[in-house]
């Protein structure tokens, strides 16, 4: 059949099961946009900034496990995808970015809106393609999806010159993909699996350290089976949240810089670390040389380059985490560790996650309430900062794909668009976006998309009037020199939300939180923005300083520190009363720690 390149592109996308594209048009992609008309099964979401399109594709992919797709024009459209691509690369998120390119005969001439996007994105994509000949287009699209979703997932980019979209050719759909130079190992080596099982059966104090790879591989049941079979505590990374239910008695929550104290103590004491789809990130290990001094290491990962990158493993197993755990579960004998578990339970009692109970509104409380109001069934999407760490600590994930966050790159601005992508992918789940007054302002324009599509996302701004996480570091490591972190001058988020057509609530006091969240849950035809005025100078604890060791962990707010400000307004919970709000704002003292 003779068709245009643009039609072949959309046919190919349809064959890959694409139902949603997040994008923004421009000269180089007009032929593609024209063709979208003829594909009613594929809905196109018009974003307000291409960065939003990229993060929406990520949110969609993370919430559903499917490949997210975004589309942008050449030049500035394409370069606006750089941050989401880098983000997806760091967190192994499968997305396909399609960019328009100037006409083939103009490539390399500094033509209008030309950017060498394949060159620019080489280090931040798993692979990328410039389509030079329309005859290659179907094959490239098929390969792109294959590369994005197989092995260690990741972002890919396809750059399509305008004349290629317009060119007619004889189209035959691609039935299967075979890239001889790309054959990820999926099955783990049986000898290594046996050796791992032996180590596990010998260990006295084993621990499961579970990363994002377990979520990507859907290894939820297998992780749980192993943990229960050998009665071993489980800690997850930020990206591993949800790979093991945090309400399970064996759960230690998150480990690392802002992980629970008991997870970090347990890891530092273990004699066997079973790493599952985790990459020993520096936020997890701190000072590597002193991290797991007494432990043997089993490292299970689909990416051979992760093995031995940071720490040498005693037993490395390359392959699909789910497949390997299935085999491993068959051969481990199931030695129990009652003493180890009770030692850990004691740690849990002695060092619980903690925040002040002083009548002041704290971010941690808001997060706890979000978990409760939604029966721990919501998808929690976060931005980056203190609020993200509180969400990781207090939300209590119960299932995979429930926690959507930017871990590796730590991208402020990720939250709102990723929440939109997640809601498109999982329309039946409540979606909460936990964000900060800084982060929300990085992609706030996408609120319009949420309103237009009537997405009932609940955007919870933990508003501390600071770039909180940076302020925390300045407080702790730079003698309170709060250089450029003051966000007192922010727009009135309630008015702003209303201008975008969203519902808006402002809340000052713990006693108002529940009602505010319930109100948000009851709004189903548009997004709700909740402006939670939280304690200004609260910190995230526990904290291990960057590159530090367990001995430097600060478990909770030191008692000799000045008490947290009593940043409270009179009203408990406000609906739309902006007038009062304005006054409150002016009477609020600006506290400074000593």
């Amino acid at each position: 059949m003779r068709v245009k390149g643009s039609r072949a592109l959309l046919e190919s996308l349809k064959r890959e099961g694409v139902d949603t594209i997040f994008g923004y048009p421009g000269g180089a992609v007009i032929p593609i946009y024209d063709m979208i008309y003829q594909f009613p099964d594929i809905r196109h979401i018009l974003v307000r900034h291409e960065q939003g399109a990229g993060h929406m594709a990520e949110g969609y992919a993370l919430a559903t496990g499917k490949v997210g797709v975004c589309l942008a024009t050449s030049g500035p459209g394409a370069t606006n995808l750089v941050t989401p691509l880098a983000d997806a690369m760091m967190d192994s998120v499968p997305i396909v970015a399609i960019t328009g390119q100037v006409r083939s005969n103009l490539i390399g001439t500094d033509a209008f809106q030309e950017a060498d996007i394949t060159g620019i994105t080489m280090p931040i994509t798993k692979h990328n393609w410039l389509v030079k000949d329309v005859n290659q287009l179907p094959e490239i699209v098929a390969e792109a999806f294959h590369v994005a979703r197989s092995g260690r997932p990741g972002p890919v980019l396809i750059d399509i010159p305008r004349d290629v979209s317009d060119a007619e050719f004889e189209y035959t759909p691609v039935e299967s993909v075979d890239i001889p130079t790309y054959k990820p190992t999926t099955r783990g080596h049986s000898v290594q699996i046996k050796r791992a099982a032996e180590l596990i059966d010998q260990a006295k104090k084993p621990i499961l350290y579970v990363g994002g790879g377990a979520n990507h591989a859907y290894a939820f049941n297998e992780v749980r089976e192993l943990a229960e079979k050998i009665n071993t505590p489980v800690t997850t990374t930020l990206k591993g949240l949800g790979a093991f239910p945090e309400t399970h008695p064996l759960s230690l929550g998150m480990l690392g810089m802002h992980g629970t104290a008991y997870a970090n103590y347990a890891v530092s004491e273990c004699d066997l670390l079973i790493a599952v789809g985790a990459r020993f990130d520096d936020r997890v290990t701190g000072k590597v040389a002193e991290w797991v001094p007494n432990a043997k290491i089993i490292h299970i990962d689909i990416d051979p380059a992760e093995i031995g990158k940071v720490l040498l493993a005693d037993v490395p197993i390359v392959g699909d985490v789910k497949a390997i755990l299935t085999e491993l579960n068959k051969v481990v004998k199931g030695k129990q560790h009652p003493e180890w578990v009770s030692q850990i339970n004691k740690l849990k009692q002695d060092f619980p996650l903690h925040y002040p109970n002083d009548g002041v509104l704290h971010g941690q409380y808001v997060i706890e309430q979000i978990g409760e109001v939604s029966n721990h069934d919501a998808i929690c999407v976060t931005d980056v900062g203190q609020h993200q760490m509180w969400a990781a600590q207090f939300f209590k994930c119960e299932r995979p794909r429930q926690f959507v966050t930017s871990g590796g790159l730590g991208t402020m601005g990720f939250g709102l668009p990723a929440a939109i992508g997640a809601q498109f992918g999982a329309p039946d789940k409540p979606v909460f976006c936990v964000t900060g007054d800084g982060s929300i302002q990085m992609c706030i324009q996408e609120l319009m998309v949420a309103t237009i599509y009537k997405l009932p996302i609940k955007i919870c701004i933990l508003n501390n009037q600071f770039l909180g996480m940076v302020r925390q570091w300045q407080e702790l490591f730079h003698e309170n020199r709060y250089s450029s972190v003051d966000l007192e001058a922010s727009p009135d988020f309630v008015k702003l939300a209303e201008a975008y057509g969203a519902h808006a609530i402002r809340c000052f006091k713990p006693s108002g939180v529940r009602a505010a969240l319930e109100e948000a849950m009851s709004i189903t035809d548009r997004p709700t923005v909740l402006d939670f005025r939280i304690s200004k100078e609260e910190n995230v604890y526990p904290m291990i300083p960057s590159g530090g060791t367990i001995h430097q962990m600060v478990v909770q707010r030191p008692p000799d520190m000045v008490p947290l400000d009593s940043y409270i307004a009179s009203e408990t919970y406000m609906g739309e009363d902006d007038q009062a709000t304005q006054e409150e704002k002016e009477t609020v003292p600006v506290p400074r720690a000593k």
């Binding site: 692979h127 790309y182 380059a305 031995g308 990158k309």
Partner: protein, 165 residues
Amino acid sequence: MTQTQQHTISVLVENKPGVLARVALLFSRRGYNIESLAVSITENPSISRMTVVVNGDEQEVEQITKQLHKLIDVSKVQDYIDVPIIARELALIKVNAEVNNRTAILQLVEIFRGRVIDMSDKTFVIEVTGGNDKIDALEKLLEPYGIRELVRTGRIAMARGVRGM
């Protein structure tokens, strides 16, 4: 800590535009200096072979080879550190050759089994192949006459015997 050593790494890649950039980028991104790099097609015109010389300890180079292997266009990677290999490079050296120096220079070239492949009233161009030590040595000996231009290909290498990649 393992010792830093010079590694000769052979990489088989698809013969496509952009592949060299991908490989080179991988080295620079992870902070490794490429000592030398030679690329050309192989007996199979759709495959190119890159020979990369790099310094690093065992773990670093292992990481590099693994990362190289991850590139979609790379089919094989071999670090020749424990493999007997033949390694060569080619140099072209344009040296001042005044009439009264010519015999001496020709003798040097002879000893190093090079060849004079161009000659003018003031210069020779000498071609020499061999390991980099040999070329370094010849270069040093020619220096007193005045080297005007020097081009080296960088190392190419192949495993000895039936062993290949």
